[in-house]
């Protein structure tokens, strides 16, 4: 099979799995997850084949795998649908397929496959546990998710959206995949729709990303209008970029290229949860944990960054290598600001998943900032390493929660929140695999030097920012990185170290192999993936392994970015922020037992800088007011209903007239009753001549005969 055909086939298994599960196999949980995981495995296999063929090609950037066919006729031309795997696509495909496969596998264990049905579980709510009798003793064990099959169907659709987005060679199909994921994130965040909080979170996520998507669609429309094509390879030619770069728009003095890039970037702000559209992501933690990993690590949020990476040539049109263009400054500012801003919130969160949610926002900010300052390779590198260790952390947190729920079922005290870190502690002995993998993921997130992937990618971003003299970005990101290490260590300390703080934590249990195996696989990549991108001039380690990543991914761009000169300042900064953050995090939290002892529970951080409240006041309340007062009360009930009621009244009035002055007198009285009356009258008056006497009849017949005969005679003959 040619590589191009194989690329076409990559997104298909998950969508087929979706339809198979929805239409045929949803009654059978075992069959459904077999199909779902099997489809993910097939896509993974195909992706691996494509990836290894791709790295074997010399100059893949100039001659990528591509294939397209005409799709929608638009007058003389066609909108094309097609696939494209260039170095960036291949690298992204690699991590996407692995994380998706692992998440599918993990979901089997997370949703308690093989456990009995719950005592009083209902569809739309998380399972509550089942009572079983063993050796004459009753005890409560986790129960299987009631909507198990549906979960795998949704995941399949989601995976289809992501694969479509990654392999597509144009903005249109990229946008299609983008929107499919938007739909799936809505469905999956609201998976436990029986919980009001999950419902609200789903709506919030959908609405917030919609804001970004509208602008993105505007950007796509503008791009199509300006160039007449949506195909990446056709847009990113020198002439097209030059034309776009020199066409001026009336908005902020931006060139067409800059404006389009910014519009598309707003889509990313929504999808990748950047400030100011970040508010949906923490709430999205209401979904099942595999969903959190799927949406917040491997796929959807990465899709936002991936879109900017794809649009990088557009964003950097006119970029001379030193002075940032307006569009790039905006991107860099939003990224850097988000990175710091989200990190400050993460410090004060107590929910294990919410910490990770804010950490994701912060790390995505790193990538966006890197793209904003033109550090293309560093951004892609961090995107990939982050996907591995953040998926690992999310799945690890799910494993922790699962273990805690086990403890909750054991004690029967449902008041204990299994997600609150202050209810945990000492889990390292209870859940060793989860602990060690979580530790690896956490250290990677913090950027623990040399060993972990996170160090290499984050260091590269910092080095890039420093090397090109973007000091503001450099300092912001360094502070954010310090806080990242700090809150990560806080999380690890509170969760795994020390002694159990509750009975539930004492009875926590390690999770089944379907959950731990993905952790181990992801932990492997969270460590080793960093080694493919070690800078050549790095002291001691540089040159041991060739900086394959830089060569490979850098080849995507028309102008291959040059490797940075080594500088000791960013290296020392990275070392200091990572180790310092970890150390202070451990120092500050090793003896903390209750939230009251936590010095960082500052109200403004705890309440996420009051963004939810501000948006509620600025947008939600006015929207309610607008819909209730203006739309509903005034427009709908006043104007529209008024017009309709007038129509009703006029019609009724006309009807009354017609009824009273035409229907009743003419039709009913005259024609209806009149005909009947006349017939009756004639009958009554003719009655006497029917005497029953045969001779009178004969006489009458004779008279009529004579009269008619005479009349005919005179009329016809005479």
């Amino acid at each position: 099979m040619t590589t191009e055909t194989l690329i076409w086939l990559i997104p298909l298994p998950p969508i087929l799995a979706f339809f198979l599960i929805v239409l045929f196999t949803n009654k059978s949980k075992a069959l459904s997850h077999t199909i779902g995981v099997g489809a993910a495995a097939l896509s993974w296999l195909a992706s691996m084949v494509v990836f290894f063929r791709a790295i074997g090609v010399e100059h893949l950037g100039e001659h990528p795998f591509e294939s397209s066919l005409n799709w929608l006729p638009t007058g003389d031309t066609f909108l094309k649908i097609g696939v494209l795997i260039d170095p960036v696509g291949a690298a992204v495909l690699f991590f996407v397929s692995i994380t998706i496969f692992m998440i599918f596998l993990y979901s089997v264990g997370y949703h308690n496959f093989g456990q009995p049905k719950g005592d009083h579980d209902v569809a739309g709510l998380p399972p509550h546990g089942a009572t079983v009798e063993e050796h004459g003793r009753k005890h409560v064990v986790p129960s299987i998710e009631p909507m198990y099959s549906r979960f795998f169907a949704f995941l399949g659709l989601f995976a289809f959206g992501m694969y479509t987005l990654v392999v597509s060679d144009n903005l249109l199909t990229l946008f299609v995949g983008w929107e499919i994921m938007g739909l799936c994130s809505y469905l999956l965040i609201g998976f436990w729709y029986g919980k009001p909080s999950a419902r609200n979170a789903a709506i919030k996520a959908f609405m917030t990303t919609r804001v970004g998507d509208v602008f993105m669609l505007l950007g796509i429309a503008f791009l199509y209008w300006a160039t007449g094509t949506l195909s990446f390879r056709e847009i990113f030619t020198e002439e097209t970029l030059h034309i776009l770069g020199t066409t001026m728009t009336p908005i902020f003095g931006l060139s067409a290229a800059g404006l389009i890039a910014l519009l598309l970037f707003i889509g990313t702000v929504g999808k990748s949860a950047q400030w100011p559209l970040h508010v949906w992501l923490p709430d999205a933690m209401e979904g099942p944990t595999p969903v959190s990993a799927m949406i917040h690590a491997a796929t959807m949020v990465s899709a936002g960054v991936y879109a900017v990476i794809r649009m990088f040539p557009l964003l950097t049109t006119d970029f001379n290598g030193h002075e940032l263009t307006t569009a790039m400054s905006v991107v860099a500012f939003i990224g850097a600001f988000t990175a710091l801003f989200a990190a400050t919130i993460a410090v004060a969160q107590n929910d294990i998943k919410r910490v990770l949610a804010y950490s994701t926002i912060s790390q995505l900010g790193f990538m966006i900032a890197a793209l904003g300052i033109g550090a293309y390779v560093a951004a892609v590198f961090h995107l990939i390493t982050h996907a591995f260790f953040k998926a690992l952390l999310f799945l690890g947190s799910g494993s922790v929660i699962h273990g805690m729920e086990h403890g909750v079922l054991h004690t029967g005290n449902h008041e204990t929140d299994p997600q609150n870190m202050f209810n945990m502690g000492g889990l390292r002995n209870k859940m060793p695999i989860t602990f060690w993998t979580f530790l690896i993921g956490g250290f990677a997130l913090s950027g623990f030097p040399i060993l972990t992937a996170g160090f290499w990618s984050k260091d590269e971003i910092l080095a890039d920012a420093f090397g090109h003299g973007h000091m503001a970005v450099f300092i912001t990101l360094a502070v954010a990185a310090f806080m990242t290490a700090f809150y990560t260590m806080r999380q690890i300390t509170l969760t795994f170290l020390g002694e159990p703080r509750t009975k539930e934590a004492e009875h926590a249990q390690e999770t089944p192999w379907t959950m731990t195996a993905p952790l181990v696989v992801l932990a492997f990549f969270a460590v080793t993936y960093g080694w493919v991108g070690i800078p050549e001039h790095f002291p001691l380690f540089g040159g041991l392994v060739p900086n394959w990543f830089h060569e490979f991914v850098g080849g995507t761009l028309a102008e291959h970015p040059e490797a940075l000169e080594f500088n000791v300042v960013p290296l020392l900064t990275s070392l200091f922020v990572a180790l310092g953050g970890l150390f202070f995090g451990w120092l500050a939290y090793r003896n903390v037992q209750t939230p009251a002892e936590d010095k960082f529970q500052i109200p403004v951080l705890k309440n996420k800088w009051y963004f939810d409240e501000a948006y509620d006041f600025l947008f939600v309340k006015p929207a309610y007011w607008f819909s209730e007062t203006f739309v509903s009360a005034w427009m709908d009930k006043g104007v529209i209903d008024g017009i309709l009621h007038t129509f009703g009244k006029v019609t009724q009035f006309l009807g009354d007239i017609i009824r009273n002055y035409f229907d009743l007198p003419v039709i009913n009285r005259f024609f209806g009753d009149g005909t009947a009356d006349a017939t009756q009258w004639v009958g009554r008056n003719l009655r006497p001549i029917q005497t029953g006497r045969v001779q009178q009849y004969f006489m009458l017949a004779l008279v009529i005969f004579i009269v008619v005969g005479a009349a005919l005679y005179y009329l016809l003959l005479a």
Binding site: R687, P688, Q690, T691, G692, R693, V694, Q695, F698, L702
Partner: protein, 102 residues
Amino acid sequence: MVPLSWYLILSAGLFSIGLFGVLTRRNAVAILLGVELMLNSVNVNLAAFWRYGDVTQMAGQVFAIIVFAVAAAEVAVGLALVISVYRKRNTVIADDIDLMKW
């Protein structure tokens, strides 16, 4: 040879007598007799017109024979009705048999 008009006058006279009988007699049998007279006056007409017209055309005679047949059938049915009514109601007076009215 007797002129045609004589036959016609005879026929008209017979018809009128029959008609008068039908209209004035109270006895149902007598009414039937009147009807027979009227039919036969027609036969006289038919025969006369044949004889004074084109004798090679047999239509007049054939019609007369059909009228005989019809008259015979009519009398058979009529008398049967009269007898049947007489048995039920013990009368043959036409004016008394007036159940068929409003």
